[in-house]
Amino acid sequence: MNVNLSIDPAFVAEVLVDFLKREAGKFSFSRGVIGLSGGLDSTVSAYLAAQAYGPENVLGILMPYKTSSPSSITDAEEVVKKTGIRSLKVEITPLVDAFFAQVPEADRVRRGNVMARCRMIVLFDQSYKEKALVIGTSTKSELMLGYGTWYGDMASSINPLGDLYKTQERQLAAFLGVPEKILQKAPSADLWTGQSVEGELGFSYEEADPILYLLVDERWWAEEIIEAGLPAEIVKRIEKIVAASQFKRALPIIAKLSRRTVGIDFQLSRDWSR
């Protein structure tokens, strides 16, 4: 079965640039900060933000750790050069190492999470100084699979990519003219040497996206997707992963005691705060 996830990238880019401008403008923001990893997500976000706010109003922040792959830095530098955005390099090695000096037994997942959260601290600190919004970089594939660090790389103020699957994002990236080697790179959070999405999840985004699309957007039952010929084992695993990661897509749970409770029946749009 062939699931069509093709988009009109020129049209989508136009909508997303309009989104970035208008949503930030409502809160009197016209600048953005983005953590640049040299990967596809932050690159696409940077291209869009540069168009929306003008390159001089976007600050790309490179935040390497001592084990980060050297190509992460050189690729991020190329993005800075190509988009003309401003950039800043903040090594997170002293922060992370100071933290783990006290918990030397932490495994690589804990270490990875702390790195992602240190980067979040740097981004939000810079956003305050810059009077800018932190621009998110998680795609719909990552949000649905919960593949990201909660309050780490998943934290942002505005996210242009959150409703695009990775395979759709690639079409957008090609249209925006992102460097070919970034486009071809295997997706990785680069939290430890050799980490890859496929290695961790056991399937690629090319395999996951059609399944997610049918499950989430088209509301097929898992059995129907399997019957249509998609790999049963991956379908079942994805169905479980999506449900298990729901907490990452929600606010903290609040115990309802009053008659009007945050997150339950205090129902207002975010625009209300304007």
Binding site: F11, V15, F19, S269, W272, R274
Partner: protein
């Protein structure tokens, strides 16, 4: 009744919950429409308040005698204005309403009957349902108002045709959804299909005004348009951008369309009523609505035994 009408489509982006700012925007836009020579200016759904109001509804709702209403009515002294508001009635029920104002007065207020409450929509939680759908007389001819979702229920345009409307305005907050199309949203494609289909089938002018801008990440795609009674495009506004454009339409097109295809003449009102009564399960012996009920009762009895 006018033969030529100049209609201004006001495709704008209201500020959510800010009636004061939106009122200013309306007054300014009405002035611009007048300077373009327009006889009628049409704003989108909930144009005075914005869309994703939720708990804000009672804070922004207006009564017919509210000062903001008086200001916009005053601006309608020399130009007819269609606009959207959250309306509070004296019993504190709130409606998603469309107002036709002209000559400084309210000509008609339509309260949205179909409040989408599914998927991304939650209108039924925050608004009460209107209970009437009627055409009304204006200096341009008999007019019908629909609000957004009502176009998705095909008998709404049908009722307005039967009630004599030769002009229908659907004011909308059409949300941008679906990436399967080229150069437009998936949701735009179906709206554009409906606009053409309804006008062609019912032989009336169809004025569609949709807003632009974003609210909490939800985009509104604009693309307002007027379709003539033969299903042909009169004017199209851009996607996603504010615009104000005035177009002259010729009412002779209604007569010609209805002579060519006399569908209204051949409508069978009593037949439709009888069939609706049968389907609803009134007193008709063939009612399918009765059968499942009888079957369910029989089944329950069986289980008891």
């Amino acid at each position: 009744m006018a033969d030529k009408i100049k209609i201004a489509l006001a495709q704008l982006a209201p500020k959510l919950g800010d009636v004061k700012a939106n009122l200013e925007l309306h007054l300014e836009t009405i002035g611009k429409a007048q300077s373009q020579g327009a006889d009628l200016v049409v704003f989108p759904e909930l144009s005075l308040t914005g869309y994703l109001l939720k708990d804000m509804v009672p804070e922004v709702a207006l009564r017919r005698d509210s000062p903001a209403m008086q200001k916009i009515l005053k601006a309608s002294e020399n130009i007819a204005v269609i606009f959207g508001l959250a309306e509070e009635d004296p019993a504190y029920v709130y409606y998603n309403s469309a107002c036709f104002a002209d000559g400084g007065k309210i000509v008609y207020i339509h309260r949205k009957v179909f409040l989408p409450t599914y998927g991304m929509f939650d209108e039924g939680r925050f608004f009460g349902e209107g209970t009437k759908l009627a055409a009304f007389n204006t200096r341009f001819g008999r007019f019908g108002l629909l609000i957004c979702e009502e176009a998705w229920h095909s008998f709404c345009p049908y009722l307005l045709m039967l009630d004599g409307a030769i002009l229908v305005a659907n004011i909308a907050n059409g949300t941008a959804r679906g990436l399967e199309e080229k150069s437009r949203m998936g949701s735009s494609a179906i709206w554009e299909k409906m606009n053409r289909f309804y006008s062609d089938l019912h032989g009336f002018f169809w004025i569609f005004v949709n807003r632009v801008g974003f609210e909490d990440g939800v985009g509104f795609w604009g693309g307002s348009e007027i379709i003539d009674p033969a299903g042909q495009l009169e004017v199209k506004l851009p996607y996603f951008e504010e615009d104000l454009k005035t177009t002259e339409i010729s009412m002779g097109k209604v007569r010609r369309a209805r002579l060519k295809t006399p569908l209204l003449r051949d409508e069978k009102l009593d037949f439709a009523i009888n069939e609706l009564l049968r389907i609803r399960g009134g007193n008709h012996p063939d009612s399918p609505a009765k059968k499942p009920l009888q079957a369910a009762v029989a089944k329950r009895r069986k289980v008891k035994r």
